[in-house]
Amino acid sequence: MVVGSRRRARALMGGRFTLLSLGAVVMMLPFAYMLATSFKPNAFVLQIPPQFFPHHPTTSNYTDAWTSNQFGHYFFNSLWVAVVTTVAAVLLSAMMAYALARFDFPGRTVAFGLILVGLMVPGMMMLIPQFLLAKKLLLLNSLWGLVVFYTGGNLALNTFLLRSFFQGIPHELEEAMVVDGGGPWTRFWRLVLPLSRPALAVVAIFTFLASWDEFTWALTIINDPSKYTLPIGIALFQGQHTTSWGLVFAASAIAIGPVIAIFAAFQRQFVAGIATGAVKA
């Protein structure tokens, strides 16, 4: 009886493992093929039967993408925008979240309600008025135009997540600092932020990835090729070189490398953040 149920349990686990392996192969096959193509000379990218291990591997797509196509320049534009956005959005949203979580002031409910509105309205709906606003603020065709709108666009979600985390910090800790004469600013920097490192890491990662991957806004406000970010650069590669798939995917691999590395490194926090905040990346 016991032996039988154990055998059944093992068979069940084998079945689950097989199904999941099949699923994982389907999920990863496109990436594997993308990597393979990025190492193929252009003559072989549409060859049948497809080669998952290129017969004539070359790294020339990578060197071409990085050097002759200004791609390195796009990479650093993206990096600068994502870093500045992340610092600004995390700081501003942490301050907002602290006010909403720990102070009772007139207008707090309204402010939080408006943040929820900002969370629910589809971002694309604001594209046209945002474009007109950026035009008026002379932010068209500038990386600052990306930073300002990315920062503003990430505030609602970050504030929402951080607020619930801050609410979980025991009040007694803050009261002890109040007794010692610690003002709100001191408590925020010395107590709340250090205790919230995991939550801050989550919102920082979300913000960084969102700005690193953002396409539509950059496409809309940037015309000057010297200010392209990676997603724009990659999309235009495909437009300019209709058949240079090797080049497109070498560039893509360079662009998603940091993303997957960051995700792999912070996976635990990432998944926890998604499950609690239920965020769509």
Binding site: L133, D213, I234
Partner: protein, 324 residues
């Protein structure tokens, strides 16, 4: 909910201050200082949020009522609801709405069923569990630009991997399919990309919910001799019902926001056959510079999303209320 979480620092100082006069003075001053601090903490972020998010939301509706002029100095002409009337009589608008509806009808159930299946399979110990979770989740964190170009490449008619698999290997079709060259095959290819990219997200949320189901409940069902499938239906599924509702609402909203994949893979073509609401909006706004009509389309989209979201929340709420 909000009242219980107010500043206990202000409370405690208020309470202790009731004893002595000078201390009341001190406490009031401190309270005022705390109140000022709250606004100072809120203000920088909130002003930016109001400028780049709240103000554009209001403006979107306003712009949709005008024949918006981009020329500096030239006046925009007020049209009332004309742009909305235009949409109602625009066959391509209706086609875009249909295509968006098709995308929703395929991708939402697809992501839920496959995401839930993956979560159920992962909801107990097994080798390489963390690795599976990571692999399923990688498409979620990969940029839409990259995966759209990748799927465009996979769906190429002659020399594409998909046609090679289903035609050359499995012989399911007699000839290579021109996936992106016709309306419904293109919508199907776009939907397959949508499902593939979203499974991991649904899976992670379902997995968190399943792990929240008390083990005693699952075990009680098991000792009752309930088979795994019956056990899942009787115990786990009702317990994660609110999460299923949440995921459904989020996925429906997400499906109406489909843009980058269509924009890059078919550009709405051939001949506007595969336009979705947002690619059509973008075309009017940023190719034809008709901001009024573009805004009307995006405002209609927002209304649809809100109605669907509220409707679903009602729908999901009712049975649980009846049972309680």
């Amino acid at each position: 909910m909000t009242a219980s979480s107010n500043s206990s620092a202000a409370d405690s100082s208020g309470r202790s201050a009731s004893a002595l006069r000078p201390r009341i003075h001190l406490a009031n001053r401190r309270r005022r200082r705390e109140l000022g601090a709250a606004y100072l903490f809120l203000a920088p972020g909130f002003l930016l949020f109001a400028l780049v998010i709240l103000y554009p939301i209001v403006r979107a509706f306003q712009i949709s009522l005008y024949n918006w002029s981009l020329v500096p100095g030239a006046a925009s002409r007020f049209l009332g609801l004309h742009n909305y009337n235009r949409a109602i009589h625009d066959p391509i608008f209706w086609r875009a709405l249909e295509n968006t509806g098709f995308y929703m009808a395929v991708t939402v159930p697809g992501q839920i069923v496959l995401g839930l299946a993956a979560a159920v399979l992962l909801d107990a110990w097994l080798p390489a569990r963390g690795l599976f979770r990571t692999l399923f989740y990688i498409p979620v964190v990969t940029s839409w630009v990259v995966v759209s170009l990748l799927f465009q490449y996979l769906f190429i008619t002659d020399g594409g991997l998909i046609n090679w698999i289903i035609h050359d290997n499995l012989h399911l079709v007699g000839h290579n399919i021109d996936w992106l060259g016709a309306r419904w095959t293109a919508m199907l290819a776009l939907s397959i990309l949508g499902i593939w990219k979203g499974i991991g997200w649904a899976m992670v949320i379902f997995l968190a919910a399943l792990q929240g189901v008390p083990v005693e409940l699952k075990e009680a069902a098991a000792t009752d001799g309930a088979k795994a499938r019956a056990r899942f239906r009787a115990v786990s599924l009702p317990a994660i019902r609110p999460v299923v509702a949440f995921v459904t609402v989020m996925l429906v909203i997400g499906s109406f926001n489909v843009f980058i994949s269509v924009f890059l893979m078919t550009k709405g073509g051939p001949l506007d056959e595969t336009q979705v609401l947002l690619t059509y909006m973008y075309r009017w706004a940023f190719s034809y510079l008709d901001f009024g009509y573009g805004s009307a389309i995006s405002f209609i989209l927002t209304l649809i999303v809100f109605v669907l979201a509220i409707g679903q929340m009602r729908l999901f709420r009712r049975p649980s209320e009846a049972s309680s």
